[in-house]
Amino acid sequence: MTILGDLGAASFLPWIRRHADRLGLAQTVSHADDERIELELDGPEELIDMMEVGCLLGPIDVWVETIGREPLAVQTS
């Protein structure tokens, strides 16, 4: 998941972790700067949908402009 916007507030990354934990999603932040956060999420698609909807609003001191999603390569045996 790629989040773009005015994301500089220090509150956002902890907020993302809390929201993902509440949804039971495994998450790894692979990149974070003031304008872009790249987040790898693992879990059911419906819950990732909820993560996206929650992040669209985010905490009050953050403005999320857009969120993009693409599936990660799945390792198969």
Partner: protein, 301 residues
């Protein structure tokens, strides 16, 4: 808590020197404060964002709105209602072109007082997921509880929130509906405490019925809701149209008055919004973007 004490506690704070008053963005907006048809010389004693106001009419029917200290407030008449503002509005009241369309019946539904945030009242209006559970066998029914995918967006060109392609099965979509139909909705939020609903018009499939929610913010947790409609319906009596809509809003009131927190959260940290809530999320994003925070809770608690 009585309405009076709620109003007193919600009086606007004095801003520190060199700082814009809180909620300035909302202070400069237009709000409904009464029905044109009920204007009289003695006036309606009410409130706007914590400030006592009086809405009266002169012998010629011209409206006059005065603030708590006797100052004359801006006034306009539109859609059967008197509109006023505590500040200096920079925009006109939003347009509803259907209000000028021949053949429609215009329905002043009246007022419903609700002990909730004015923003909560609008958000509830935008939510279709509650229909089967709150307006059972009228606007929704089990097992038809699924909200199909729809589009919700902030339209930059008009600076409004729009939700389109909203479809829902309704046992009795309107007073004139004779049976269950899948109703299509469009929602529009053109002002922080106003919403316009465009809905399938059973007698005239090529048109939309228009049902609006104009909300007067009395305090951050108290509001008067003024529904207004522009319908194609030549058969239903005006009394029945009003009673139908009042029944819907009274069903909503019991839910709204028990919501926690009472203010509308602009941080979803304590909630788990879903795709069905996309209109609410777009509305809250728009409020946040414009600093429309009177009646909002800024930090999740």
């Amino acid at each position: 808590m009585t309405a009076q004490t709620t109003l007193q506690q919600a009086m606007p704070h004095q801003a520190p020197p060199h700082q814009a008053p809180p909620h300035q963005a909302m202070i400069d907006e237009w709000y409904p404060v009464g029905l044109v048809s009920q204007l009289d010389r003695s006036g309606r004693h009410t409130a706007l964002m914590g400030e006592p106001i009086v809405v009266s009419g002169d012998d010629a029917g011209n409206p006059l709105v005065t603030g708590g200290n006797g100052r004359i407030l801006p006034v306009k008449v539109r859609y059967g209602h008197v509109w006023s503002s505590l500040g200096t509005p920079t925009k006109d009241i939003f347009s509803i072109p259907e209000a000028d369309q021949p053949g429609r019946r215009f329905v002043d539904v009246g007022v419903v007082r609700v002990r909730c945030s004015p923003l909560r009242a609008v958000e509830n209006f935008l939510d279709i997921a509650h229909f089967p559970f709150v307006h059972t066998d009228v606007l929704g029914a089990e097992p038809h509880t699924e909200v199909q995918n729809y589009t919700a967006e902030i339209r930059a060109d008009v600076d409004e929130v729009w939700a389109t392609q909203v479809k829902f099965y309704q046992p009795q979509a309107s007073k004139s509906a004779s049976g269950g139909i899948t109703t299509e909705y469009m929602y529009r939020v053109p002002a922080p405490t106003c919403s316009v609903l465009y809905k399938t018009c059973p007698p005239r499939p090529s048109e939309w019925d228009v049902i609006t929610l104009f909300v007067q913010p009395l305090a951050e947790d108290l509001c008067d809701v003024w529904p207004w409609m522009a319908l194609f319906d030549d058969e239903t009596s005006m009394t029945d149209l009003i009673h139908f809509q009042q029944m819907i809003f009274l069903q909503d009131r019991s839910i709204l008055e028990n919501q926690i927190p009472r203010l509308l959260p602009l941080d979803p940290g304590m909630e788990i919004p879903t795709r069905a809530d996309l209109t609410s999320i777009a509305y809250r994003r728009w409020l946040k973007r414009h600093d429309y925070t009177y009646g909002a809770q800024l930090v999740a608690r």
